[in-house]
C-alpha cells in the first residue's frame, strides 16, 4: 500500500517541502530510503523501526521503500523521522491517509518513540503557511518557535503515539498559541550603558554609531572596557520589529542555536567570534552551508576583538556582506543566500605592546613595529569603518566612585529619533528623485561648514574617502542634535573620530 506525508528539509535558511512516500509490498523484508538522503536520514531506518515498535504499533516484515521527493535535492538531518514513521503506519494500515493529508510533520524520533527537537522549525512553519497546510506537527520544545511567526495551526507533539492519536482524533492536542507583537516585548537586558563609568568620548561614539548605523573601531589598552562598551550597543539600538525578530529567530533556529522552549528572540543579537575563527565560521558556508557569525549577527552587532589578529582572508570576506547586507555562499548544489545586516564593532590595542598612551606603563614599541601593526588592518575594511575612537585607561577612582552613566533607555530614545530623521530625509530624497548615494543624502551643509571641511581635510591630509566618512558622521551628529543643516561643530566633532587617519596619514 502506498502512503504520503508532507515534511520539509532545510536548505540555507529556508525550508524545502519534502513529500515522504512509503510503499510497503511483498518481497524480502527490507527497509530502504531513497531520494538523496544524507547519513543522518539513512539512520532514520533504525530509529523509525524501534520507535514504531516501542509505541506499540507494528512493523510488518515486508519490503518497505521510503522515497523522499523531490529526488534531486539533498535531505539533511533527522527531522524526517516523524513523517517517515507516520507514512509507514499509513502504508501498513495502522493510520488512515486522509487523517494525515494536509498536515506537515517534522521531528526526530527516539527509540522509545519520543519526539525530539530539530533545527529550523520556524522556517518549516513558514513553508507550511505557504502551502496552506491544515496543521503542523512539531516537537514539543519547538512549538513556541513554530507558532511565533505564522498562523498555521501548530501542534506540540511529545511522542509518536501522541501524534497518531491526535491525527486519529482519539486524543486531540490543543494548538499552540503564539502572536507576533510589533515590537515584541523585550526581556530585561542584563547589560546597561549605565554600568559604564567615565569614557565619555567612547559612549558618545557608541551613540553616534547606533544612530547612524556606522561601524565603529575602539582603540585602547587591554582591560579598559572595550568589550563592555561593545556589548552595550544592542541595548541602545532601536528595538527589533516583529518582522526582524522573526528573521533573527529563524536564523538561530536553523543554526540549531535556539534554546528549546524558546519563542521569538526579541533582543538584538551580539556575536563576538574569536580571532582564530576560520572564514567559513565567520562568513558562513562549509560543506552544509551553515550561517556564519555575520548572519548570526543579522539585525544585531558583530564584535571583532583584537581586529589586527584576525586572518586576512576572514576580514576580506567581510567586505562584500558589509556592502550588500547579504552573503552568498556557494556550495556544490548551488548557492545559498544568508542575510547579514549587522553593525560592526571592532577593538584593538593601540600598539603591539598595548600600552601606547597608557600613562601607567611605557610603550615599548618602535615606530616601525607600530606601523607594521597598523598595516595589518585591511585597508578596504577600514574604509567601511566610519568611527575610530580611543578608549583610554580611566583613573582608578573613576572606576570605583565615578557617577553611573546615562542608562541605555535614554540613549536609545535619542538614537531612535535620529534614525527616524535619517529615514524621513532618505524618503524625501527618493520622492524628488535624488540619488540615495552622494552628497544629497547629507542634507544641507552650511557654507561655513563646507569651508571648514575643506581646510580641515587639507590640514589633516585626509583622503577623499575619509572626508566622505567625516561628512556622513557629521550628518548623524546633526540628526542626533535635531539640526536641519550640518554645521561646523558637527564636522569638528566628527573629525575626532578619525584617530587612525591621524596616526598613519595616507601618503600624499
Amino acid at each position: 500500500m502506498l502512503a504520503a506525508v508532507l515534511s520539509a528539509t532545510i536548505v540555507g535558511l529556508e525550508a524545502l517541502p519534502v513529500s515522504v512516500e512509503v510503499d510497503v509490498g511483498p518481497g524480502l523484508p527490507t527497509f530502504a530510503i531513497v531520494g538523496l538522503p544524507d547519513p543522518a536520514v539513512q539512520e532514520a531506518r533504525e530509529r523509525v523501526r524501534s520507535a514504531i515498535r516501542n509505541s506499540h504499533y507494528e512493523v510488518p516484515p515486508r519490503r518497505t521503500i521510503v522515497n523522499l521527493a523531490p529526488g534531486d535535492r539533498r535531505k539533511e538531518g533527522p527531522a524526517l523521522d516523524l513523517p517517515i514513521a507516520l507514512a509507514v503506519l499509513i502504508a501498513t494500515g495502522q493510520l488512515a491517509q486522509h487523517a494525515v493529508t494536509g498536515h506537515l510533520a517534522v521531528g526526530e524520533l527516539g527509540l522509545d518513540g519520543s519526539v525530539r527537537t530539530v533545527p529550523g522549525v520556524l522556517a518549516v512553519a513558514q513553508a507550511a503557511q505557504a502551502l496552506h497546510a491544515r496543521g503542523l506537527l512539531v516537537p514539543e520544545a519547538n512549538a513556541l518557535e513554530a507558532a511565533a511567526g505564522e498562523e498555521v495551526p501548530v501542534y506540540a507533539i511529545p511522542t509518536l503515539r501522541a501524534a497518531v492519536q491526535h491525527l486519529q482524533g482519539t486524543h486531540p492536542i490543543q494548538t499552540t498559541e503564539g502572536a507576533v507583537l510589533d515590537p515584541p516585548p523585550e526581556d530585561a537586558a542584563p547589560d546597561d550603558l549605565a554600568e559604564v563609568r567615565g569614557q565619555g568620548a567612547a559612549r558618545r561614539a557608541l551613540e553616534i554609531a547606533g544612530a547612524g548605523g556606522h561601524n565603529l573601531l575602539l582603540i585602547g589598552p587591554p582591560g579598559v572596557g572595550k568589550t563592555m562598551l561593545a556589548r552595550r550597543l544592542p541595548t541602545i539600538l532601536p528595538r527589533l520589529s516583529g518582522a526582524e525578530a522573526v528573521e533573527v529567530t529563524k536564523i538561530y533556529s536553523v543554526a540549531g542555536l535556539l534554546p528549546a522552549w524558546q519563542g521569538l528572540i526579541t533582543r538584538r543579537p551580539f556575536r563576538a567570534p574569536h580571532h582564530a575563527a576560520s572564514a567559513p565560521a565567520i562568513v558562513g558556508g562549509g560543506s552544509s552551508a551553515r550561517p556564519g557569525e555575520i548572519t548570526l549577527a543579522h539585525h544585531g552587532v558583530l564584535f571583532l576583538d583584537e581586529l589586527p589578529e584576525f586572518r586576512h582572508d576572514v576580514l576580506e570576506g567581510l567586505r562584500q556582506p558589509m556592502e550588500d547586507g547579504i552573503v552568498v555562499v556557494a556550495r556544490a548544489a548551488g548557492t545559498v543566500r544568508f542575510p547579514a545586516r549587522f553593525s560592526l564593532i571592532a577593538a584593538m590595542n593601540p600598539c603591539p605592546c598595548g600600552y601606547r598612551g597608557d600613562g601607567r606603563r611605557d610603550c615599548t614599541c618602535t615606530p616601525g613595529r607600530l606601523q607594521h601593526y597598523l598595516a595589518r588592518l585591511s585597508g578596504p575594511l577600514l574604509d567601511r569603518i566610519d568611527l575610530h575612537v580611543e578608549v583610554p585607561r580611566p583613573p582608578t577612582d573613576e572606576l570605583l566612585s565615578g557617577n553611573p552613566g546615562e542608562p541605555s533607555s535614554a540613549v536609545r530614545e535619542r538614537v531612535t529619533v535620529a534614525r527616524m530623521r535619517a529615514t524621513t530625509r532618505a524618503a524625501a530624497c527618493q520622492a524628488v528623485g535624488l540619488p540615495l548615494r552622494g552628497p544629497q543624502r547629507w542634507g544641507p551643509v552650511s557654507a561655513e561648514a563646507l569651508a571648514f571641511m575643506r581646510a580641515a581635510a587639507d590640514r589633516l591630509v585626509l583622503a577623499a574617502r575619509a572626508t566622505e566618512r567625516v561628512l556622513r558622521v557629521a550628518r548623524t551628529i546633526a540628526d542626533l542634535e535635531g539640526a536641519e543643516a550640518v554645521a561646523v561643530h558637527h564636522l569638528a566633532e566628527a573629525l575626532r573620530y578619525r584617530v587612525l587617519d591621524r596616526w598613519a596619514p595616507p601618503a600624499p
Binding site: G200, A201, P350, P367, P392, E448, R496
Partner: protein, 389 residues
C-alpha cells in the same frame, strides 16, 4: 670659550691634493680621527702624512694592513662617488669645515654633507628616544624659539627628542643640522625619511662615515662628539640614568662646551639624566632666553618662557575660525595651562558634554593651538602654532 686642543691653524685655501689626502687618511682601517689629527699636526699637512705614511705607521702592529689599504684607497674615486650621490665632501682643511669642530681633539678628517653647513651659531638639543609628551614639548618649545633667534639646532635625527627638535626648528623657520651615525645617504630610523629631506633642504645632514655605511651601534657614540663639537652648547632634555645623551655631555665637557639641562618631573625615570647634570652644575633651562644669555647670543632673547606668546584663536592659521564657541575655547585653553589633560576631565571641568568638548578641541587643533596625544590626552601646542601647517 676655551678650546685647549692642538688645532691645526686655519688652513690656507686647500688644494685638491690636500683634500684627497684627508679623504685617504679617513679611510685607513684602525686609524682613528685622533691619530690622524696628531699625525697631521706633526707633519704640517695631510698631504705630507699621506706621502710618507710608512714612516708614521712603521711601529704599529697593524702596519701591514694600513699600508695595504694605503695602496688600495683611491681618494679621487671616493670623492667622485660621494659627489655622484649629491653629497658634498668637506675635508678638515677646507674653509667650509665647521671651525668649532676642527678645534676638538679628534675632529673627523672628512665630513660628508647633504645640504649646506654654515657658520651660524648653533646649539645641540639632545635627549631620550622614548621621551614623554612633556619632554617632546620642552624640546619643541626650545628648538622653535632658538630657531627663531637665528640659532641652528643640531641633533642626531633619532626618535623622540632629536626629531622633535629638528621639526620644531624647521617650523620656526630656522636652520637645523642632523649628525648621523650612518652614511649621509642612508636614513636611520627609516620613518624619518621625510624629516631628513626637510632637514637637508633647510640645513644639513652630516656624517663622518662614507656613503652607504649602515647604522651600526658602535657608530652612534662617535657621532655624538660631532653633535657637541659643532655646537656652542648642549641642551639635554630627557634621558634615563644611562642615556646616550650623557655621552654627548661628556664630549661637550671635553670640548669645553656649555651644558644645559631641562628639569623634568621627579616621578619620571626620564628625568634622571638632566637632574644628575643639574646636580653637577649644568645650567638650568626654562626657556630659550636662558641659553641665549649664557652663550651671549640673541639680542631679542626672552628670559621667561611661554607667557603671553600664544597665538590667539583665529589668528595666523589656515583654518577659518568658526563663529561661536569662542568662550568655550578660551575656557579649554585656560584649563590646559597646567599641562596635558584627559578629554573626559576637560569636559567635566568645563561643564561641557563629550560631544561639545570634542568639537572644540578639534577646532583648536586645526588652529594649531592644542594637540591630542595618544590616550585622549590634550595639551597646548608648545610652539604656539601647528606643525607643517
Amino acid at each position: 670659550m676655551g678650546f685647549g686642543s692642538p688645532a691645526p691653524e686655519v688652513p690656507a685655501p686647500a688644494c685638491g691634493e690636500e683634500i684627497a689626502a684627508w679623504v685617504g687618511l679617513s679611510r685607513l682601517p684602525g686609524v682613528g680621527p685622533r691619530t690622524v689629527a696628531g699625525w697631521v699636526a706633526r707633519a704640517g699637512s695631510a698631504r705630507a702624512v699621506w706621502q710618507h705614511l710608512p714612516s708614521f705607521v712603521q711601529k704599529r702592529a697593524d702596519a701591514a694592513e694600513i699600508l695595504a689599504a694605503w695602496g688600495e684607497v683611491d681618494p679621487s674615486a671616493v670623492l667622485a662617488g660621494a659627489r655622484s650621490l649629491g653629497l658634498t665632501v668637506l675635508a678638515a682643511c677646507e674653509p667650509g669645515f665647521p671651525a668649532l669642530l676642527r678645534a676638538i681633539p679628534d675632529p673627523p678628517p672628512v665630513l660628508y654633507v647633504r645640504g649646506r653647513l654654515d657658520e651660524a651659531p648653533s646649539v645641540a638639543v639632545v635627549g631620550a628616544r622614548r621621551a614623554t609628551p612633556y619632554g617632546l614639548a620642552a624640546a619643541e618649545r626650545l628648538a622653535f624659539d632658538l630657531a627663531q633667534e637665528g640659532i641652528t639646532i643640531v641633533s642626531g635625527l633619532a626618535r623622540g627628542i632629536d626629531s622633535a627638535a629638528h621639526k620644531a626648528a624647521l617650523d620656526g623657520g630656522g636652520r637645523t643640522v642632523a649628525v648621523l651615525g650612518c652614511g649621509a645617504d642612508v636614513i636611520y630610523p627609516p620613518e624619518h625619511r621625510r624629516l631628513a629631506e626637510a632637514v637637508a633642504a633647510q640645513g644639513a645632514l652630516v656624517s663622518e662615515f662614507p656613503p652607504g655605511t649602515p647604522p651600526l651601534p658602535g657608530h652612534f657614540p662617535r657621532r655624538n662628539r660631532i653633535i657637541s663639537g659643532i655646537a656652542l652648547g648642549v641642551v639635554v632634555v630627557e634621558g634615563a640614568q644611562d642615556s646616550g645623551a650623557l655621552m654627548t655631555v661628556d664630549y661637550a665637557l671635553d670640548q669645553g662646551r656649555e651644558v644645559f639641562a631641562v628639569p623634568g618631573s621627579i616621578f619620571s625615570p626620564r628625568s634622571r639624566a638632566p637632574h644628575s647634570l643639574l646636580r653637577q652644575g649644568a645650567r638650568l633651562v626654562e626657556g630659550a632666553g636662558d641659553i641665549l644669555t649664557e652663550l651671549g647670543l640673541g639680542s631679542r632673547a626672552r628670559s621667561t618662557p611661554g607667557e603671553g606668546e600664544m597665538v590667539t584663536a583665529g589668528e595666523s592659521c589656515a583654518v577659518p575660525a568658526p563663529s561661536g564657541g569662542a568662550e568655550g575655547k578660551a575656557r579649554l585653553l585656560t584649563l590646559l595651562e597646567g599641562g596635558p589633560q584627559r578629554l573626559d576631565d576637560l569636559a567635566e571641568q568645563a561643564s561641557l558634554s563629550a560631544s561639545a568638548v570634542g568639537a572644540l578641541v578639534t577646532m583648536l587643533e586645526l588652529q594649531g593651538l592644542v594637540r591630542t596625544l595618544p590616550g585622549q590626552m590634550v595639551m597646548r601646542n608648545p610652539t604656539g602654532r601647528g606643525r607643517g601647517g
